[in-house]
Amino acid sequence: MEALKLKLKQQIIEALNLQDTKPEDIDDNAPLFGEGLGLDSIDSLELMVLLERNYQIKVEDPREGRKILQSVQTMAEFITSKQVA
């Protein structure tokens, strides 16, 4: 799980071009939107694409997406659950 979270942080930084942000700057449980990284709705679409491209996971329901993209922790848990299934 720890390795997955680190990888996710690196992928988020690259996909969203978060200049001057390092993986260690992102708290596992900090909210990705609003506070924390301060991401917006376009970023949420970019994160959906990230999941699809890198983990072959397609999130169809936007309400489900809102829960999954709360933090790096929730994203990692979701990916792990899909991989186990």
Partner: protein, 339 residues
């Protein structure tokens, strides 16, 4: 069209050190290929970091040139935003098309798709300045900027706005340079800007830039008095159009003391410039393409150079003539206004 369109301010991001507003054109030394790239300013003082990270190069160039123009004009919210671009955001368009191919039309990033639309720069300016007025982008190859100017002049003449932010932006990418090189747009051999006009070969040097003006109906130092566009004329038709334009502006050729010429060193279209320049044997000629390169909206840099020449003096009446690969021809008349 004949109208009084005063230029209250301008800003240019170009291959020259133009952003600071100085006019000290330098002939650059190119390496590798006949391509000039803009000197990008520090964008961080203009755009919030969270927005900056998402923007492609031409979006940053366009937005910041527009914001600097507004600053130079002491204006915050213009009465209209009107721009022209020949190619829009090429970088985003190419990224999006590559994604379609690489991911078999699935999992496409939204950002390059959104930003590849031609009116993205206008939208960003409007959002940043909270401007809900008339907003339009013209995409007509070598007439893109010129139609933006024409629309701006009409908006002012009809009283729809008293101040219009008018501009142009175009970028060049390596991939697009290659595509256009295959249809003869550029010199086959590396050609230096200093040699451009004497190269005696076809093609030109590729350029790029973002240039903005604040046009106003309120009198100020420099006035754009007229514009005329001519599509695919013969040499004779171009001469007739020039005479008709001068006549409509009530001005004789002898009164023009500076001709700003868009001659681009391509021998296929040199005869158009020969004909026009021949009508103004007493005028000084300033060739702007060796300083900015050739691109769809290079005429905007030509207009910026004309404004700077009028600011510096001694020129008081300037005619700008430009054509884009022999198809789209434009005349613009500028004067130092007597306020």
């Amino acid at each position: 069209m004949k109208a009084k369109c005063y230029i209250r301010g301008c800003a240019a991001i170009s291959p020259q050190e133009s952003f600071a507003g100085h006019f000290a054109p330098q002939l650059l030394t190119l390496e590798g290929k006949s391509m000039m790239r803009v000197k990008e300013p520090d964008y961080s003082g203009f755009i919030p970091p969270n927005s900056l990270r998402r923007m492609s190069r031409v979006l940053k160039m366009g937005l910041v040139a527009a914001l600097q123009c507004l600053r130079n004009s002491n204006t915050s919210v213009p009465g209209a935003i009107i721009t022209g671009t020949g190619r829009g955001s090429l970088q985003d368009t190419e990224k999006f098309l590559h994604n379609i191919r690489d991911y078999a039309e699935t999992a496409l990033n939204p950002t390059p798709f959104i930003q590849s639309t031609y009116n993205s720069v206008n939208g960003l300016i409007a959002l940043q300045q909270q401007c809900t007025e008339y907003n339009n982008t013209f995409v007509h190859r070598g007439f893109s900027f010129e139609h933006a100017v024409l629309d701006s002049m009409m908006q002012l003449a009809e009283g729809n706005a008293t101040e219009v932010l008018t501009g142009a932006f175009d970028e060049m990418t390596d991939e697009h340079f290659y595509i256009k090189s295959r249809i003869g747009y550029w010199k086959n051999e590396l050609t230096q800007p200093a040699e451009l006009l004497d190269s005696n070969t076809t093609g030109s040097i590729s350029g790029e830039g973002a240039t903005f003006f604040l046009f106003s109906s309120k009198p100020s130092d420099i006035c754009l008095e007229g514009i005329k566009m001519v599509y695919k004329p013969s040499g004779e038709e171009l001469q007739q159009a020039l005479q008709a334009f001068l006549s409509s502006q009530d001005i004789a050729a002898e009164e023009i003391d500076l001709l700003v010429s868009g001659r681009n060193g391509d021998t296929q279209y040199g005869h158009f410039y020969d004909g026009v320049e021949g009508e103004f044997s007493d005028a000084r000629v300033f060739y702007f393409k060796p300083y900015c390169g050739e691109y769809d909206t290079a005429g905007a840099f030509g207009l910026w150079a004309a404004v700077k020449e009028l600011e510096i003096g001694p020129a008081k009446t300037v005619l700008l003539y430009n054509n884009f690969y022999g198809e789209q021809h434009t005349f613009m008349l500028l004067r130092k206004a007597a306020i």
